[in-house]
Symmetry: C2
Subunit: 256 residues, 2 copies
């Protein structure tokens, strides 16, 4: 049987440990093509590069693995794969991650990891965005890798007949501390920022963005935030219809 073809990207860049961890796992299942950004692209959401050209670099070829670095965003990496490198061959599975840091709740909107996972799902194969709720570059990926292996196995063996894109967040912890999956919904809430203002060496103010998440439904138990806070891996199936159907009639009443 032909080995399944797995595509991997991320937003932390081609050298990130989370990317390497999931790549090693994926190689147990099939051929792997990695196309990851040259540089960190955290917070790049669904951005595409429109006003500068993209460069592509072959980083590594060994056995079943080929790794490319692309000068653009995570979504650029996906498009570069599907519309250039793959030459018509279609992956059986798309993986984005493992991200250093959570992408639960509204963070999905800002997330380059999820931007890439969503974009990849447009091309037909199932997509999984994987994030560990630990931002540090030296985060412990042992449990994440173990569950990533289980998810890849489940996704490759399932009979999936429609577009699927999963936002998977893994809580920090040893493997035996993680209580399994919770398929759940996106928690409502938003990020409120604080700006650190400093002066540059020329006396000009500059600002650093830093924020806190405000949970608008702290008591809900069917959300990704609840799952993560209670030791579960949160799994949110994602769709991209942003229409607020509930408001169609009220908006008709506003616009005369």
């Amino acid at each position: 049987m032909k080995k399944p073809f797995i595509f991997i990207t991320n937003d932390d860049g081609v050298n990130a440990r989370g990317l390497k961890a999931v790549t090693e796992v994926a190689l147990r299942f099939g051929r792997v093509v990695v196309i990851a950004p040259e540089t960190t692209q955290s917070g790049m959401a669904h951005a595409v590069t429109m006003y500068s050209p993209l460069y592509l670099r072959t980083v590594e070829k060994r056995g079943d693995l080929t790794v490319y670095a692309c000068s653009g965003t995570p979504v650029d990496c996906v498009k570069m794969g599907y519309d250039h490198i793959f030459a018509g061959e279609r992956p059986a599975l798309n993986i984005s991650g493992i991200n250093h840091g959570s992408n639960s709740a509204v963070s999905i909107l800002y997330s380059g990891t999820m931007g890439a996972a969503i974009e990849a799902s447009f091309y037909g194969a199932p997509s999984v965005g994987l994030s560990l709720t630990d931002h540090s570059p030296d985060a412990d990926f042992e449990a994440s890798a173990l569950f990533a292996e289980k998810i890849i196995s489940d996704m490759l063996t399932a009979n999936i007949n429609e577009p699927v894109c999963l936002n998977v967040n893994i809580p920090v912890g040893r493997p035996d501390q993680i209580r399994g999956y919770r398929v759940c919904r996106q928690n409502r809430g938003y990020w409120k920022e604080e700006f650190y203002c400093r002066k540059d060496p020329r006396g000009k103010d500059y600002f650093w963005l830093t924020g806190d998440f405000y949970n608008q439904e702290p008591d809900a138990t069917d959300t990704d935030e609840w799952a993560l806070a209670n030791g579960y891996i949160s799994v949110v199936p994602v769709q991209v219809d942003m229409t607020n159907y509930r408001q169609i009639d009220s908006v008709k009443a506003i616009l005369k």
Copy 2:
């Protein structure tokens, strides 16, 4: 009566004609603060700047108008406004645009205009993203400005008690060719890219991204694509819960 406070941003940058057109319109209604990117940020989606500091520059102060330029993304501009410049004062209305180019259907995901409109709506006041389906820098904004005036008037006078974010796209045409509003839903479809490959002066390949939109429901008549193709202004109420509720059970069956 105190003049209403209107916040305006965009993704084409502080010098874009579409921004200036809507700013002049908004000044007929109240005080206006513009915070727009220094440079073009088309395709920047919901991106935030995480790994470089932001600079802010006062561009203009005259009468009821203050204009700032921010070195970051459209979403950075929104956060800079709400979490720094406004100092607790809350706009009555947020406007993003008028964008040079359509943001209908799945383009909402890639759109810096809509990234900013969505982000602004998180802070409570209604948001309107305005786009003209003409990419050219010298697009004719006469009809757009006319309808923007009507939308601003409708939004300021309506009694709106919940978060509202509208994705408004205006077809190209003279004012009398535009048939009015259609409140509708986001059309299903995706962008398929083609990469133009060229060689730089050092002999290295580089790529330009260019794409076509594939409409997955060309026969639907309740979508933004249909509205625009038939001379209407499309108005899609937007929400940010990306959960695919329909798939929660099927995903539970996949992940064992």
